[in-house]
Amino acid sequence: MDLSYSPDEQAFQAEVRQFLQEELPADIAEKVRLDTDLTKDDMERWHAILNNRGWLAQNWPKAFGGAEWSAVQRHIYDTEAADANAPRIVPFGLSMLGPVLQKFGSKEQQDHWLPRILDGTDWWCQGYSEPGAGSDLASLKTKAVRDGDHYIVNGQKTWTTLGQFANMIFCLVRTDADAKQQEGISFLLIEMDTPGVEVRPIILLDGCHEVNEVWFTDVKVPVENLVGEENKGWTYAKYLLTHERTGLGGVGFSQAGLKTVKRIAKAANHNGKPLIENPHFAARVAQVEIDLHAMATTNLRIISQAAAGEAPGLEASMLKVKGSIIRQEINDLARRAVGPYAMPFASEAVEGANDRIPDPLDAGPVAGQYFNNRKLSIFGGSNEIQRGIIAKVTMSGGGQ
């Protein structure tokens, strides 16, 4: 039992830290620090800087142009990046589609699509959820019917994150209406500018536009855009969902968030003293910090198991549940810390609002963030679904 990083890992940590100090653009870091929406250009700039260094596709094998980092290295990067206010890497092409193509795609698909993910030619988004298929994803209804060299796609996807920036979408579509739910699904790559594809914005409760509906009306998709075999899409989707396992707990985000809470609470005045010295508030902060200390170690234990090649177990579900609870608690502390100044609506959606809203605590839109991050326990398999998985596996045979 040894809780410290190896000398190699320490050297890697120093290297990452130096890279972030030297290469992370200050304007982007400031936006991340204040939770301001990043533009497409901001995200593409940061991707290009990482790609230049060979650090963009951190989990890809070197053969495909990836960094092939170990789970521990990726954890180190995630922690340092969050601490430095680096933007998260947009995951759709790099963490989601990439590994699926590498495992199940044809040689032609790999040669064509993977380099375009790295150099930013394509911006991918994910077409999974539908209005009637959320937690019960396998009940999806978007239909693809084979017609010669094409599929004709009809249906609607929803919660498509950053779909407004995307030129490509990977979709789960139903290719066999008669098969058992999971067995009639295929994995299809669709160009967003194909006639019949329409993107409609969904504005979230904090005023942000980060998700969309994507509608398909008689959309013609060439058959070579089918990944793997027809009707095997569910297998690929499950692989995708379980592949990206490190970082699930969002430890780096929580650590950065806690720093923000303390900074605000030092600046906020409460009865003539800094709020951080108030016993009730200090106790709230300490409680979350104690939880986070433990979860960081849970996270590292799971990463070590993964590094040793052990099969993924329930830990991913556990990390997601606990990680979301901790992050949401930190968001709650931040809005409390700000006090009455949590009420102004600081949003890109309101023209000029950010210039007019005075922010003596330099806190950013903490209340908006509090509401926005309610999504953490909903998306990617809600916490209820994760608890169901944990219960089902540990008490198999006991039913639900």
């Binding site: 009455p340 949590a342 009420m343 908006g368 509090y370």
Partner: protein
């Protein structure tokens, strides 16, 4: 012991509930949210005509209510519909302060819906403390800065607190007064507020002190707790309906015990919140009023967070969208914790008052 509303209050509740159900639906409210002024003059005038503003004042003051339960009845209904018009600040706090100052003619205009007010008390570093005022008054000229002043842009007059020698006094400031600067912005849960700076701005002394402000603040606490209760009722009703209609895995999601039990917990806590509002209104004139008000605001803050978060979680993604009713209602509930002292502030005040 009698927990029934009087006939008058029952009528007020029925009338207001029916009016808001018919006139203040999600679409109408979302239009108001998106408007430049952040509130509807039509709604305001119609509420005045219905007697809703008059219910906030005693007969002596020219109204026909004014007690804790009158205020609770009105604000519970406003909360249920997610009303964003600044009735709490403009009519209740502002109006009752003017009534305390004996400004009968102005109060009459408030009750009629013609006069709009803003109350500028809190300052950038006062947080929730009522006695923290750095704005100064010298020869009835005011200088200082006031923070997150509700309805400042639309107000005809501002009621401004300032240090006058050793004490805190309240002044009536005309919206066109010299040296008055108002920087407005929208609020996350609807409506508008502003940063207000005063630079040697002339004010008319109202003859009121901090004690008068504290009295008005007690009414504000009742109103805010009742408003949050009404919003929680809507949040739980929407969630219950959704659990019974949304199907996943071939059955309504409310039939999953994991969700059914959580829904039951919300209903249990909602009754706690209802009792807390009754306590706040019922003990409004008690010698221990502040203790009861702090207890209520603390409980409403805790349960409000639970209800808002659980309602969103049990809905899933749909509740995260701005257009859906619950999104607005949840914001009203959580933002109520940022007014007149939050959960922690009132916990501390309760401890202090209990020990006294």
């Amino acid at each position: 012991m009698n927990f029934d509303l009087t006939e008058e209050r029952q009528m007020l509740q029925d009338t207001l509930r029916r009016y808001l159900r018919e006139q203040y639906g999600t679409a109408r409210r979302n239009d108001i949210l998106a408007s430049d002024t952040g509130f509807s003059a039509d709604i305001w005038n119609e509420l005045a005509e219905l007697g809703v503003l008059g219910a906030l004042f005693t007969e002596d003051q020219g109204g026909f209510g004014g007690a804790g339960f009158d205020i609770a009845v009105v604000f519970e209904e406003l909360g249920r519909a997610g009303v964003v018009e600044p009735i709490l600040d403009s009519a209740l706090i502002g109006g009752r302060l003017l009534a305390a100052a004996g400004k009968t003619d102005l109060v009459e205009q408030v009750i009629g819906g013609a006069l709009h007010l803003a109350v500028a008390h809190g300052e950038p570093d006062s947080r929730y403390d009522l006695d923290h005022v750095n704005t100064t008054a010298s020869d009835d000229k005011l200088t200082g800065r006031k923070a997150v002043v509700m309805n400042a842009e639309a107000a005809d007059h501002l009621i401004v607190s300032a240090k006058d020698g050793d004490g805190i006094a309240l002044y009536l400031v005309d919206k066109g007064a010299a040296g008055l600067d108002i920087q407005g912005y929208p609020l996350l849960a609807g409506g508008r507020a502003a940063e207000v700076t005063l630079d040697n701005t002339p004010g008319d002394p109202l003859g009121l002190t901090l004690a008068d402000y504290e009295a008005a603040n007690r009414l504000a606490l009742i109103a805010q707790c009742a408003e949050a209760l009404g919003a929680m009722e809507t949040a739980t009703a929407l969630t219950k309906d959704y659990l019974m209609t949304r199907k996943q895995f071939g059955r309504p999601i409310g039939t999953f015990q994991a969700l059914a039990h959580r829904m039951s917990d919300l209903l249990i806590e909602l009754e706690q919140a209802r009792s807390a509002v009754i306590n706040a209104a019922g003990y409004a004139d008690d010698k221990d009023a502040d203790l009861h008000l702090s207890a209520s605001k603390n409980l409403i803050g805790r349960i409000g967070r639970l209800v808002a978060e659980e309602a969103i979680q049990m809905h899933g993604g749909i509740a995260m969208t701005q257009e859906y009713e619950l999104a607005h209602i949840a914001k009203r509930i959580v933002m109520a914790d940022h007014r007149f002292g939050d959960t922690d502030y009132h916990l501390e005040r309760f401890i202090a008052l209990s020990a006294a």
